[in-house]
Structures are given as C-alpha cells and as structure tokens.
C-alpha cells in the first residue's frame, strides 16, 4: 500500500476514530483504572487499592456461579445454533430433491427463510414479552395451558420455567466452582437459539450460494447422498464462516445480559436465587444496586475480567479454527 493511499484512508477514518476513542476507548481505560480503586461512582474522592477487587472477585460465590452459567451457555448455545443453522441452510439451498432442474433447496424455501429470520427483526424487549407469555407459570402460559389440556400437567402444579432454579442435571462441584444448568437458564438458551438461528442461517445460505453449483452436481453425479454431500462438500467449504459464527456466538454467550435482565425474576434479573445470574447481570447489579461504598469499583473489576475472558476466548477460537489451506473456487 502506498503512503498516499494510507493518508487518504486515514482522512476518511478520522471522525470515526475520534468518536471511537472518546466513546469506547476512553471509557475502557476509565473502567480499568477504577477497578483498582475504591471508587463509589458518586464521589470524585477515591483511593488506589491495588488488585484487591480482583482477588475478592474470584472468591465471590455469586460471581463464580455466574461464571459457571456463562460456561454452560458457551458450551451449548453456539454449538446448537450453528448446527441448526447449517442444517436449515443446507436444506434450503441444496437439500431439495435433485432432478432435471439441478441442485436446489426444499420446496417453499424462501418462505422458510423469512420465518427463520423473523425473530432477528424483533427487539429483545418484544422477544422478552412474547416468551414470558409462552413460559408463564400458570394456566395463562402457552406451554402450561397446552400441557394442562393434554392432561400432562396438573392445574395446581404448573411448570415454573423461568422461576425454576433446579438444575437439569445434578450440580457438579469443583472446589468453589459449581457447574449446573438451572431450568431457567436452559429456557433462556432456547430463546437465544430461537432468536439466533435465523441470522446464521442467512449467513450460511449466502456462503452456500457462492459455492459453484457444479461442485454439488458433480457430487450428485458421483452418487453422493445428501448427508455425504453435506459432510464432504458443504461443510469444508463453509469452514471460515462457521469459525466466524463461532466467535460471534461465543461473545454473545459471554454476554447474555439482555435476556437475563429482561426475563428473569428478582431485582435486575438473575433470579430465582441467582440461578440465572451471568457475569454481566451480576456486574450491573453491583454497579447500580451497591451493597457497600466501593461496589462500583468492584463492578469495574468484573467488567475488565469479562473483557479479558472474552478476548481470550476469541483469540483461542480463531487460532483453533484457523484453516491451514485455503480452497479457491
């Protein structure tokens, strides 16, 4: 790249970079600085306290539980979303019956695309309202009323869903760290998958459409079944896209704030009994529902830890899935 071109690009980027520096980088720096003080968020007088907040953080029971919940989300949400999105994208693009018209998707694929993408256009607040109705814990809830009509659930013992703190498997304790998947968290993951599949479906669809049709036709001519086509042809050619999706979903899994706050019981969400608390929701309740005078600084330490964990995750993810040989077509 010539020097003139760099200057040209920098000229255009000047305003965005200034905005980025003022509204993103400066607050980042501020947060990192506050995390080693006893800043209350209210008074401009505060003192440097070293890394005490961090030491406390990693012996804080609720934070470790919240971290465990993020790990559960991180292991389930990206995998299921990607698998479903890949499957649907394949069916919509190349999964149809191969005949004279060549390779194509299942019948009515454009309608399905619209349906799958629909949750993506809804704001998270609307998603929360809809799903609260679906999971409502009495005969007014969609699932409960259905199960009651079928006689599977007794009228006076409705399923609690978002108010259920029991784990779907017996909790595993590793030192201070508890690994569990409360029902409420599983409900949230289901909603996140429902909301996320559409976007990745479109991402993978676009990628599949850019794969030349003759590759699929050649596979079909050679007698490959749909399953073989998927695993031997489609998936390897989508490697880059899956890797990107994985990073996005991983970051979303380490966040998960909006769903927790919008849907779960308790002040600021995270309930019942911290069963759906994730790192970001716990951070916010420390910052804005302070238990002691330096809670804001403690929340800043949490914010920095979340950022570091997310960066480490993204770096590891990109390294692991980096493709060694590029396929050109």
């Amino acid at each position: 790249m010539s020097f003139g071109r760099a200057r040209f690009i920098t000229g255009f980027l000047f305003a965005p970079i200034v905005l980025y520096a003022v509204y993103v980088l400066y607050p980042y720096g501020q947060t990192a600085y506050y995390s080693v003080t006893d800043f209350s968020g209210f008074s401009p007088d505060y003192a440097y306290v070293g890394f005490g907040n961090y030491v406390e953080l990693f012996s804080d029971e609720v934070f470790l539980r919240a971290l465990g919940h993020n790990v559960v989300v991180l292991t389930v949400y990206p995998v299921v979303t990607i698998l479903l999105a890949l499957f649907f994208a394949f069916m919509l693009n190349v999964g149809g019956r191969g005949d004279k018209a060549g390779v194509r998707g299942v019948r009515g694929s454009s309608v399905y695309k619209f349906i799958f993408f629909f949750p993506q256009v809804l704001s998270i607040a609307i998603v929360a309202v809809i799903w609260r109705r679906v999971f409502q814990s009495n005969d007014g809830g969609m699932i409960n009323s259905l199960l009651m009509k079928l006689g599977l659930v007794e009228k006076d013992k409705p399923l609690l869903f978002l108010a259920e703190s029991d784990s779907v498997f017996p909790p595993i304790h590793i030192g201070d760290f508890t690994f569990e998947a409360p029902v409420v968290l599983v409900c949230l993951i289901l909603i996140a998958i429902w909301g996320g599949v559409g976007f990745y479906l479109i991402l993978f669809s676009a990628a599949m459409q850019s794969i030349p049709k003759d590759i699929f036709e050649a596979a079909t001519l050679d007698g490959a079944t749909r399953v073989q086509t998927f695993f031997r042809v489609t998936l390897p050619l989508l490697r880059e896209h899956v890797s990107v999706a994985w990073v996005y979903l991983g970051i979303a899994a380490l966040d998960f704030y909006a769903l927790v706050v919008g849907m779960t019981p308790g002040p600021g969400g995270g309930g019942p009994n911290d069963a759906s608390q994730v790192m970001s929701s716990y951070m916010m309740s420390n910052a804005f529902r302070p238990a002691r005078f330096d809670s804001f600084a403690f929340a800043c330490a949490m914010g920095v830890s979340i950022a570091i964990l997310t960066l480490l995750f993204a770096a590891a993810q990109l390294r692991l899935t980096r493709s060694r040989d590029k396929i050109e077509f």
Binding site: G29, F42, F135, A163, T264, K326
Partner: protein
C-alpha cells in the same frame, strides 16, 4: 468468490485495537486530575441573614433547581409546590425537572459536583444514600427538623411529622433523607367477595387455615404474592417475624446480632409460609408471575389475600372491576404466643427527598422542603396523589378513596405500628431474604434452610468492614 486470509494491510483491525488499547491505558491517570478539578466547587448560596421567617437564610433572587421523580405520584403536586415557592420568594426562578430514572440521570451530577438543590430520590433505582453520605455529599437535615414550621413559627418542623419519619431517614445517626409519603401495608382482600361467601377476615392462624381450606374447595387460593418481585414476600416474612417476636426480635435482626435469624420468631414465621405452600393455599405458579398478574388474581376472585402497600388501588385502577371493594387487614396471629397484639400494622414513610451539599442553593433546597411540609401543600399532595403525606393530620376530613380510608382506619386502630431497617441498610442481607423467602413461598425450601441461608448472609455482612454498620433502637 475467493476465500482469502485477512487482507494484509497495515491498518487491520487487530493492530488498531492494539494501539488503541495502549492509548487508553495512558489516558487513565488523567482522570484523577479531572476529578480533582470537579471537587473544587464550593458551598455558596446563603446570602441572607437567618431569621425565624427565613430559617435557612435563603438569598433574594437565588435560582433553585428541583428534580422530581415522575412515577405513581405524577407531576401535579410538584408543580403546585414549585408555584408556592416562587410565590413566597418572588424573583427566585425555580427550575423544575422530572426524571423516571433518578440514578441514571443524577449520578453523573453528583460525581461532577453540580447536583440539583432538591432531589426526589425515588424510583426503581435510587441514589444509594450510604456511599453518598460517606463522601459528605448530603446535607444533614437536622436543621430542617429544628426549624420553625411553615404554618406556625412556635412549632418545630419535627413536631408536625408523624412518628417514624426521622428514624426512616437517618443514616449514621443523622437524618439525610426526608420521606414525604406515608404508606400503610397489609393483606388486601375483596370485601364484596367475603360478604358474598359469608367469610370473615381471620384473626388467628387457625381461622386462616379454616378459611384457606374452605376457599380451596371453591377453587380459590387463600394467598398469593408478587412472585418475580421478591421485595413483597420479603416484607411478608419480616412483618410476620415482627408479629411473632416483637420489636426485640426485629432489633436483633436490624443490629446484625449473632444468630438473629435463628430465633424462634423467625422459625415460626418461615414455617407458616412453608405450610401455606405445602398445603396448596398459595396461588399455583405464583413464584413465576409478576405483580400485576397476582394482584389481578385477587381482584378476579382467584386468590383471597395479597400483601401490598396502600398504593394498590391506584396501581390496579385500570383493571379494577366495579364490583370489587378492596380493603386491608392487618396480619393475623401466627402463634398462640405472638409478642405483638392482633391489629399491629406495618406502616412506613417513603418517597425520599435529599439536599446535596454541593448544590448551588442548599438553603433554598431546605426551604423548599420546609414549605412542602406546610399544611396546605401536604393536603394538596393527599388530594392529588390519593396518598398520605407524612404531615400530621394533613388529610383529615378528606375522602380520598375507599381503599385508602380502609387503610387509614386500620392504621388508626393499630395498637402498634411497626417497621424495620435492615432491608434499607444492608443490600446483601435483603437480597438473601429475597431469594430464601421466595423459595419458601414456592414450596422449594424449609424453615431451617431459610434460617441457615439468611443467617449466613447476615454473618457475611457483619464481618464485611466495607459495609458501614448502622444501629437501630
């Protein structure tokens, strides 16, 4: 399409991020310098001599900034108060602001050292008094309490207030918050339904149990609670602990005494809630429902009692059937040996007002509050908001609403008016009661588990020297 690796430009995202991070780290130390500037701003504002008529020495033509919470009480009473202030201090322009999120809107102004002169510190998220007091940012309102009242210079402001206002607003031994509205709490029910079924309001646990079984046969739950908002059920259990153990038991809790939550009173109260859950007297699935859904269940005759404050009727006005007649009952006796008599009512001042020290006109701020506590303004508050102010006798002779009259009647007849302090002082302890009491009412836990969980939180608060301890008496 060609799949290529990241384009090899010098300005790729990662490099930019790396460089930017370095810049961010360098910028951080500059913040303390900025902060130091912000704290330079001084007191100021007092320009006139302090007299009986002007106890705070409000200066002539001193502008005043007041910020009100825009919630259940609406905007009208604030506008009335501002008009009254401007009439008394002609030339003092009052800037009136409303906010639905006091914390979000006013935290930066505390930090920046330019807060308003009066702040109505109410809303779902309020400015936490503890940290702000520790920073010396709130005016001690003792001077306001000892100032002559607005209507009669011979009577101090302190003596015009109902009991509990000073205690409720006190932190570290001084009153920093003036709570302006007086709420009466209790178990609300539909009088019309009780009359129709020939039921009477229970006075003892046995009467409640008989009623609950009778209601169950009719497919009605005897009890419900505002599930996903645990503040309500935490009030029920604390109220019941007080009912059983009396003030002595609650003081142990407020003062974080060892094993305060292991007392018998706590055990009895928790057992009663667990019993209601296990016998199926609580509305099915209530722990997952919100306040409007469960409150509506009482209005619809699907549940008999719900604990709430005197704002209930106003809150549910839109969906209140005409046939329903809301009334409030005090907690029934929970054991044969309750320390407090039947009829004991929980009532407390709320809707706080604070005056920041770094405000430009704190004298005007205190004068504004003194005027708000005047007879005429307090009465107007009752009329406009259908709620009681903390000024004695302010709503006498006013017929506001049947629910509020019922509440006032119950409060007037009460042998003892009760309240407690731990919830406002110790957030982690309140959180523990939130979680444990909800589990109890959802039928997921036992009295022993409740006691253990809350005691653990209380012990942690007691030994955490970063939490400032208060003393109740």
């Amino acid at each position: 399409m060609t799949v290529t690796p990241d384009s090899p430009s010098e300005l790729n995202r990662r490099t930019v991020l790396r460089r930017a991070a370095a810049v961010g780290l360098l910028a951080a130390p500059a913040i303390s310098a900025l902060a130091a500037c912000a704290s330079e701003d001084g007191e100021g504002g007092t320009t006139a001599e302090k007299t009986t008529a002007n106890p705070f020495g409000v200066g002539d033509k001193q502008p005043l900034e007041v910020a009100f919470f825009n919630g259940g009480f609406g905007e009208d009473y604030a506008k009335f108060d501002v008009a009254a202030y401007e009439a008394k201090w002609p030339g003092s322009k009052v800037e009136l602001k409303f906010s639905k999120t006091i914390l979000t809107d006013y935290q930066p102004r505390f930090y920046g050292g330019n807060p308003p002169d009066v702040l109505n510190n109410s809303s779902p998220e309020t400015i936490p008094v503890g940290p702000v007091v520790q920073g010396g940012q709130l005016v001690d309102l003792t001077a306001l309490l000892d100032a002559p009242s607005y209507d009669d210079p011979a009577v101090k402001v302190r003596d015009t207030l109902v009991a509990g206002v000073v205690e409720e607003g006190t932190f570290n031994g001084k009153m920093y918050t003036l709570n302006y509205a007086y709420s009466i709490y209790g178990h609300w029910y539909d009088e019309a339904l009780f009359a129709k079924e020939g039921w009477t309001v229970p006075k003892t646990w046995d009467e409640f149990a008989t009623l609950a079984e009778a209601a169950k046969k009719k497919g009605i739950a005897a009890y419900t609670f505002q599930g996903i908002h645990p503040w309500y059920i935490h009030n029920v259990i604390t109220e019941w602990i007080y009912k059983v153990g009396g003030k002595e038991a609650i003081l142990k809790i407020d003062n974080l005494e060892p094993d305060a939550w292991k007392q018998d009173a706590v055990k009895v109260a928790a057992e009663r809630i667990a019993e209601m859950a296990s016998k199926g007297w609580i509305q099915a699935g209530a722990s997952g429902l919100d306040h409007t859904t469960t409150q509506q269940a009482v209005l619809d005759g699907k549940a008999l009692f719900i604990w709430c404050g005197s704002w209930l009727e106003g809150e549910m006005a839109k969906t209140l059937p005409a046939s329903v007649k809301l009334a409030v009952a005090p907690p029934w006796d929970l054991s044969a040996s309750d320390k407090t008599k039947y009829g004991t009512v929980h009532a407390a001042p709320g809707e706080g007002f604070i005056v920041p020290t770094k405000a430009k006109n704190p004298a005007g701020g205190q004068e504004f509050l003194r005027m708000m506590l005047g007879k005429e303004q307090a009465r107007k508050f009752a009329e406009l908001t259908k709620s009681l102010p903390v000024v004695k006798g302010a709503a006498d002779g006013l017929t506001i609403s049947s629910a509020l009259s019922s509440a006032s009647k119950v409060a007037a007849a009460a042998p003892e008016v009760i309240n407690w302090r731990y919830a406002g002082w110790y957030v982690p302890l309140q959180n523990a009661v939130f979680a444990a009491a909800t589990d109890l009412a959802a039928g997921k836990s036992s009295a022993a588990a409740f006691q253990a969980a809350v005691q653990k939180a209380a012990d942690e608060v007691a030994k955490d020297d970063k939490i400032v301890k208060q003393k109740a008496s």
